[in-house]
C-alpha cells in the first residue's frame, strides 16, 4: 500500500473508532437523565472490550488464514502472523467495525439491561455472531463472498446484524416500566452532537471500505453524504407533515438512517441512485418508527427501524443500482445474491442472539433485566454508582 492509502486507511480507522463515542452521545441524549451514563458506557466500553477480544481471537475467527466458508481459523490468535503493513491495516480497520456493531444493539435494551450481563454478552456476541458473519461476507473464503453477494461497508455485517440482535434483546428483556406517556430525550444537544460525530466518522466507514485512497473512495464519500442528507430532509418533511414542527431529533435520526442505508451500496452506485435510496429509506424508516407503537416491542431507540431496515434497503438498493451487476444493468444475479445475504444474516443473527441471551438469562448471578427498583432509580446509580450531572447545591 502506498503512503497515500496508508494515510487514508489510518485516518479512516480513527474516524470509525470515533463513531462509537458518537453513538454513545446519540443514544445517551435520547434516554432519560437517570440512565445517561449507563447508555454512554454501553457504547464506550466496547472500545475496550471488543478491541481486546479482536486482538486476542476475534480477528482470527473472522479473517484468520485457512478458514472455510463459515468461519476463519485459530491461525492468527493474538494477531500472530499479522505482520505485514497491509494485513495490520486490514486488522485495524476491521476492528473498528467489530467495536461499533454491538454498540449499536444497546439502543434496543438501554435503560433496563444489566451492565454485567452486557459485558458477558459482548464477549459471546462478538465471538459467535459478529465474527462468523464478517467472515461470510468479507473473507475471501466466506460463502456469501464467494457466491458474489456485495456488502461494501457493512449493511449486512453491521446494520442488519445489529438490528436483528436488537429485536432479540428488546423482546427478551421486555418493555421498560412506566413509559406509557412516552420518553422525552433528556439532552437533545447530545443527540445532535452524536449524530454529527457519526456523520463525520461515517466517511471513514464508507469511503475507507475500498481500502485505498482512490476514485472509489471519492465516489463513496459523495454518495454517502448525499444519501444521508436526503434521508434527513425526508424525515424533516414528513415530520412537518405529521407534527407541524421540525424535530431536531427527527432530523438527526433521518440522517443516521440515510447513512446506514448507503453503507452497503457506497462503493457501487452513483449519486442519482443515492438520492433515490435516500428518499426511499427516509420514507420507510420514518414510518417504521412512526408506527412502532403498534408493535409491542420496546426497541427503545429504534435500532431495528433505523439500522436494520436501513441495511435491508441499502442491500436491495445495491442489488438494483450497482453500476456493475445491478438490476438496472439487466442482471438479477447480484440482486438474488444480496437477497440471500439479507435473509441468511437476519436469520443467523436473530437466532444466535436469542440463544445467547436466553443462556445469559438463566445463568445464576447474571440475568438480563435490572430489578424494578434499580430501573426506577436509574441505571447510572444502580450499575455505575455515578450520577450523570451533579447540579444540586451540595456539589
Amino acid at each position: 500500500m502506498d503512503s497515500g492509502s496508508i494515510a487514508w486507511m489510518l485516518i479512516c480507522s480513527a474516524l470509525v473508532l470515533f463513531m462509537t463515542p458518537g453513538l454513545a452521545f446519540f443514544y445517551g441524549g435520547l434516554v432519560r437523565r437517570k440512565n445517561v451514563i449507563s447508555t454512554l458506557v454501553y457504547s464506550f466500553i466496547t472500545l475496550g472490550l471488543v478491541s481486546v477480544i479482536w486482538v486476542l481471537w476475534g480477528y482470527s475467527l473472522a479473517f484468520g488464514d485457512g478458514g472455510n466458508g463459515f468461519i476463519g481459523s485459530f491461525s492468527n490468535l493474538g494477531l500472530s502472523g499479522v505482520d505485514s503493513t497491509d494485513d495490520q491495516i486490514f486488522a485495524i480497520f476491521q476492528m473498528m467495525f467489530a467495536i461499533i456493531t454491538p454498540a449499536l444493539i444497546t439502543g434496543a435494551f438501554c435503560e433496563r439491561f444489566k451492565f454485567k450481563t452486557y459485558m458477558v454478552f459482548l464477549v459471546l456476541w462478538v465471538t459467535l455472531v459478529y465474527a462468523p458473519i464478517a467472515h461470510w461476507v468479507w473473507d475471501s473464503n466466506g460463502w456469501l463472498f464467494k457466491m458474489g453477494a456485495l456488502d461494501f461497508a457493512g449493511g449486512a455485517v453491521v446494520h442488519i446484524n445489529a438490528g436483528m440482535a436488537a429485536i432479540a434483546a428488546a423482546a427478551l428483556v421486555g418493555r421498560r416500566r412506566n413509559i406509557e406517556r412516552g420518553v422525552e430525550p433528556h439532552n437533545v444537544p447530545f443527540v445532535i452532537l452524536g449524530a454529527s460525530i457519526l456523520w463525520f466518522g461515517w466517511f471513514g466507514f464508507n469511503a475507507g471500505s475500498g481500502l485505498a485512497a482512490d476514485g472509489i473512495a471519492v465516489s463513496a464519500f459523495l454518495v454517502t453524504n448525499t444519501c444521508a442528507a436526503t434521508a434527513m430532509m425526508i424525515w424533516v418533511l414528513l415530520g412537518m407533515f405529521h407534527g407541524g414542527k421540525v424535530s431536531g431529533v427527527g432530523a438527526a435520526t433521518g440522517a443516521i438512517a440515510g447513512l446506514a442505508t448507503i453503507t452497503p451500496a457506497a462503493g457501487f452506485i452513483g449519486v442519482g441512485s443515492a438520492l433515490i435510496l435516500g428518499v426511499a429509506t427516509g420514507i420507510i424508516t420514518f414510518y417504521a418508527v412512526y408506527f412502532k407503537e403498534k408493535v409491542n416491542l420496546d426497541d427503545a431507540l429504534d435500532v431495528f427501524a433505523v439500522h436494520g431496515l436501513g441495511g435491508i434497503v441499502g442491500l436491495f438498493g445495491t442489488g438494483i443500482f450497482a453500476k456493475n451487476g445491478g438490476l438496472i444493468n439487466g442482471s438479477s444475479e447480484l440482486f438474488i445474491d444480496n437477497l440471500i445475504m439479507i435473509i441468511s444474516t437476519m436469520a443467523y443473527s436473530l437466532i444466535m442472539s436469542i440463544v445467547i441471551l436466553k443462556i445469559l438469562d438463566i445463568i445464576p448471578g447474571l440475568g438480563l433485566r435490572s430489578t424494578e427498583s434499580e430501573e426506577d432509580l436509574g441505571l447510572d446509580i444502580s450499575d455505575h454508582g455515578e450520577r450523570g450531572y451533579v447540579a444540586d447545591g451540595a456539589d
Partner: protein, 117 residues
Amino acid sequence: MIRIDAIIRPERVNIVLESMAKAGCTGFTYSNVTGRGTQQGVEVFTGRGSSTTNRVSLPKVMVTAVVEKSNQKKIIESIITAAKTSSNGEIGDGKIFISEISDVIRVRTGDSGKEAL
C-alpha cells in the same frame, strides 16, 4: 386554603400528578429537590476507580398544590396511593407537609381566594 408539599420519588411523579388531577386538584407545581430522611442515601464513586463518597442525600421531587380545605383529604390520599412503591411502602417513598395559606391570587384576572384556584 391548604398548601400541600409532597416530597416523592422522581420516578413516581407522573403517576402522582395524574392521581392528584383525578382527585380534583386543579393545579400544582413541582421541582427537583434533594433530600434525606430515614432513607440514608447511596454510595457513589467519586469517579476514579473505586474511591467512594457516601452521598447521604437522594434526588426527590417536591410537588406543591394549594387546594380547598374540603378537598384536602381526598387529594392527600390520592398522593399516598400513587407515591407508594409497593403496597407496604418502602423507605424513601416520601413525606407530605400540610400548612395553611392565607390567600391565593390569579395574576391574569386578579381574582383571589377560592375563585383563584
